[in-house]
Symmetry: C2
Subunit: 185 residues, 2 copies
Amino acid sequence: MSTASRPLRADAARNREKLLAAAAALFAERGLDVPLEHIARRAEVSIGTLYKHFPTREDFAAAIFPERLAALDVIGEKALADPDPWHAFAGYLDDLFALQAQDRGLNDVLARDLPNAPEVVSACHRGAGHAEVLIARAVEAGVLRDDYSIADMATLTRAMAQVIRDSPGEWRRFLSIYVDGLRAQ
Amino acid sequence: MSTASRPLRADAARNREKLLAAAAALFAERGLDVPLEHIARRAEVSIGTLYKHFPTREDFAAAIFPERLAALDVIGEKALADPDPWHAFAGYLDDLFALQAQDRGLNDVLARDLPNAPEVVSACHRGAGHAEVLIARAVEAGVLRDDYSIADMATLTRAMAQVIRDSPGEWRRFLSIYVDGLRAQ
DNA sequence: CGCCAATTCGAGGCAACCCTCGACTTAGTT
DNA sequence: AACTAAGTCGAGGGTTGCCTCGAATTGGCG
């Protein structure tokens, strides 16, 4: 099977880039549900052209989020390199939600269970992998309550998504209270 | 100013009741955003009749939620009667979110800042009043972190609304972790 | 019974968003 | 310069939900 499509014509390539830039900006500002018409308008391209390049919203997500999700790996590595298990775990949470707070679209991706693009899914799995190690380490060190699991982190992520959405100034405080509740004992 | 409207005709009164029942059921099941057409359909009444009785969605909320919000007073009184300041406070949270978990519409009312009906607003204020006393007592007894405030509870309420929405089975666990983080020290 | 104001009905206009398709334009090749 | 495949355009059809308004119906009174 040759998925090999011939190179885009110059104008098409230009429009594709304009669409991606517009979508990236609007997803970040307004979230994943921004009307496709708005993306077309900001890209100064017709709605028909938008559909030519990205037949579904998913296609936009698949083109945009893998790159953003790379940040997940960065904070994951950073935390894994931290010798203090508690600091590593708590720092990871902080970095993760700081990321979500910066990008409304990313917040949506991580909170609702959205896009099926394999690259998005696998990035999330990698993130979960990091988190699992961080949890295991902290539990083993006796600093994290020993029944804590990835599922709890998923719940937390959705809760934090909500807090970030409607009180962006208060998520750190909310998180710190929750995290206090996580220490062993 | 005589707001005194003459009594409804028998058929009108009947339809009004059918509409209220339908709206109450659908709000509880599906949340505040349920299409008004669905309410009319379930009430077996035309959309025009619906608008005759309840010109806006707010009017439905104003007719339905004050009664439900009375439950807030009940759990507030119950908590205030509890001599143990910590148990009172924690119990109040538990009761409050159990309420939200039972009724999707109530969950929406308490989470988003919605309906302007004075009776709804005042019920929420009464609830906040209870909460403030419970917080003050627990802080004074030295069992609750002394920087905790009503604003934190509002944030918590919105976060819990989200958790209840997408993992109804896990809100108690989530809450108990958070609450552990609230104890003094 | 007969009347009329109150009530009911639902088609239809409006708006937002989705997506398609055929006519037009143009990049890039020969 | 001429040709054509690739690309662009946007009107328009579909859907869902909101809300209105005039015609048809009906409860309850005299």
